[in-house]
Subunit: 241 residues, 2 copies
DNA sequence: GAGACTTAATGTCAGAATGACTCTAACGAA
DNA sequence: TTCGTTAGAGTCATTCTGACATTAAGTCTC
């Protein structure tokens, strides 16, 4: 008998199909300290059983028979982290034979984005914690999850469309400076504010509102809004999940 | 008992994990007739059992316990079509609950490119045939395979890197005109020969050789070669498959 | 209240990239 | 030898891009 329902233990694995799981790389933005640049960060869960007990890992779990893959990803990350991201995209499916030491495991990796509010309000306990993506403590993760995180970052950096990512990592309305901070965090380098503004004005998917962000210490910036939809035909609708 | 090893029939499905399969969209280039443009084409196999018996479908099959996903894709397409592509890339994993009428089926779709020689020499019989991608006969395919084909075409059109696709769909050496034909087939529009030449010369991954293609009816074109490697960190090495 | 300071937003300018087009070179066919 | 066709190089105007300057509009300090 296997200790995980639906999963075969090491002695049965040759005679059964691979076990199916989903894992999600959840990325959010955290404002920089002391005027430093914003940082990308992600929540991880601690493994509470073998294999890799005690190591940090991506939130995830098995796929139920009654749910689609995207629904499985949404449900698993809600159960393990309490988060409900508003963007979910399938990343890649990892299925090397030896990626788990105890059983043959095929993992469909997803990639989620959280806005700033969601990052702040998340519960943290001994088994769930947030890390900056360059934190040395997560240089190694359980299974091949470090490779999955790296691939998610690569995908994010190679996303062409500006607005798409923008309103997912920020709120419904946002300033151009905040958006620039997001892109600087993703790309890891400074961007010229004037040129950034110019290219975004040519982007049809971002639109100025009549509102300004008051309460700052300097000239109030105008708020912008995302309109339209990206070109990827297979984006998951997380409202179904 | 299920008629397919490792797969549950409809009565057992609620109690077992989803069945895992791989399917591959194999794309090749066919030279245009009567001076017309080149065309993208793909081989399909006829379903010889239910569900969807008689319909055309992507080549594929189950994932064995002893092979990686890429290996499963390479093995299945070799068994069903006799083809051994030199490029294989994971596309997307399809896992909607009702995508197969008889059992819960999760399919990891792959995307392969063949060069012109391989397209010509393929065996065709009643159950394997090549179709142009705009052939009305394949407007409908078994399962959700039409959606998978459309997504493969979308991915191909959105590939940025020129040389990568080039030497996979053509041979080791190729003329710039042949490469332009490939891109015109992919993008579905004519490209200016002079400008195409210029942009390719600025592409570091394509290099001129000292050889020329003799035997044509006009001035012999120079042969070029692909050098270097694209940026995608998760490309499958098909030599392992 | 008068500056100084900081950020918002616009403008300028040179170099690179792009699209449309012209011109010459090199082959086979007539 | 001439012609037709493709190979390949070059031209020019437009657009895009990065670097930088300038003005606008708030808060903070004295």
């Amino acid at each position: 008998m296997s200790s995980v329902p639906g999963w075969a233990n090491v002695n049965e694995r040759r005679n059964l199909p691979p076990a199916l799981a989903v894992s999600t790389v959840i990325l959010g933005i955290r404002e920089g300290q002391d005027g430093g640049p914003d940082k990308l960060c992600l929540p991880l869960v601690r493994r509470i059983r073998e294999p890799h007990q005690g190591l940090w890992a991506l939130p995830g779990g098995p796929v139920d028979a009654q749910e689609s893959l995207g629904q499985a990803a949404g449900r698993n990350l809600a159960e393990t982290t309490g988060l409900r991201p508003n963007y979910l995209e399938q990343l890649y499916t990892f299925g090397d034979i030896d990626r788990s030491p105890t059983h043959r495991l095929v993992t469909i990796a997803y990639f989620a984005l959280l806005n700033a509010n969601q990052v702040g309000t998340t519960v943290q306990d001994d088994n769930v914690a947030w890390f900056d993506i360059d934190d040395p403590a997560i240089a190694q993760l359980a299974f091949d999850h470090r490779k999955i995180v790296d691939y998610a970052l690569w995908r994010l950096r190679n996303k062409t469309e500006y607005g798409q990512i923008a309103h997912r990592l920020l709120g419904e309305r946002f300033t151009l400076a905040a958006l620039r901070g997001v892109y600087e965090a993703i790309l890891g380098r400074r961007l010229d504010p004037a040129n950034f503004r110019r290219t975004l004005k040519n982007t049809a998917t971002i639109e100025a509102t009549d509102e300004y962000l008051a309460g700052g210490q300097h000239r109030p910036p105008r708020l912008y809004r995302y309109v339209g939809h990206g070109p990827d035909p297979l984006e998951v609708d997380p409202t179904q999940a």
